[in-house]
């Protein structure tokens, strides 16, 4: 499978993602400059974490208006798999590839820790290696992860199975205490309507090797490989 990892000025998880895809999952992977106008020969594009364009104006806004993100939009419209991690998720919402918006954390602090997540839908290209209700432990690290969407859109997303991950406690309970940033309904990850575009605040690439304390991110990354091999 051939992956592309987007590189915007200020991306800082690009090489972590590149390394995990290449060295842990043994896939073909290429870094893609943000000025790139055409995407050829990729099976999946990853928008990595970081602080693209210094989070100026709003996180993800300036990156959403680059030539590369324009190409990613075309790629997604043709059914290509796109995953946006952390700042990548913010870019996808600002580019209107995903509904809603990511606001500053409700407590105003940067949050950086291991977080439990409950898999709400395992019937997607990004979660097919998970069980429904499975609890994953994956790190989060963000200042603007407070997901917000209007009630009507939220209801449609819920009906259509677009809520993929929710913040939970270690037993899988969705509680206010286990919500690290104030996200509406503890939402940590969502897809678009056709489920080929996935955005999530947690960092699966930081949870792909046992030396880092958890390998649960591999459930997500291996799901992508599985969806490609079908």
């Amino acid at each position: 499978m051939r992956f592309g990892v987007a590189v915007y000025p200020g991306s800082n998880c690009d090489y972590d993602t590149y390394r995990v895809l290449r060295d842990v999952l043994n896939q073909e992977v290429q870094l893609i400059d943000y000025r790139t106008e055409k995407l050829d020969g990729f099976d999946c594009v990853v928008l990595p974490g970081g602080f693209s364009f210094g989070d100026y104006l709003r996180p993800g806004t300036l990156a959403a208006h680059t030539p590369l993100t324009g190409a990613v939009k075309e790629f997604a419209e043709k059914g290509g798999l796109v995953i946006g991690i952390c700042n990548g998720f913010q870019i996808l919402t600002e580019a209107h590839l995903l509904p809603g918006a990511l606001m500053p954390n409700v407590h105003g602090k940067f949050v950086c820790k291991h977080q439990y997540l409950r898999v709400e839908n395992s019937d997607t290209p990004f979660t097919n290696q998970c069980e429904e209700g499975q609890i994953l432990k994956i790190p989060i690290a963000h200042h603007d992860g407070n997901y917000f969407v209007d009630e009507e859109t939220l209801r449609k997303m819920e009906d259509n199975g677009q809520i993929i991950l929710r913040y939970c406690d270690e037993f899988g309970n969705i509680t206010d205490d286990s919500n690290p940033n104030g996200s509406i309904k503890n939402i940590a990850g969502i897809t678009n309507e056709s489920k080929n575009v996935f955005g999530l605040m947690p960092h699966p690439e930081r949870a792909a090797e046992s030396i880092l304390g958890t390998e649960d991110g591999l459930y997500i990354l291996r799901s992508i490989l599985e969806s490609y091999s079908i």
Partner: protein
Amino acid sequence: MLVKFFIKPRKGVLDPQGRAVAENLRSLGFTEVRDVKVGKYIEVYVEETDREKAIERAKEMAKKALVNEIIEDYEFEVVED
């Protein structure tokens, strides 16, 4: 011309920064403070002499980049600079 954009958290969207500032003001004795919204102020200088055109373009700027209407409200005014 100069376009002044005033952007603030949308009504109904929680504004933790505003709430913290409100609490701070009250703690300083400004007990009359009922609510605070913290937003952004942006100045855009444009090469345009037609006021109506500047207004139209300003709306597009807001929609395409400066404002995220899911979470923000805005107003703007066009003045001679």
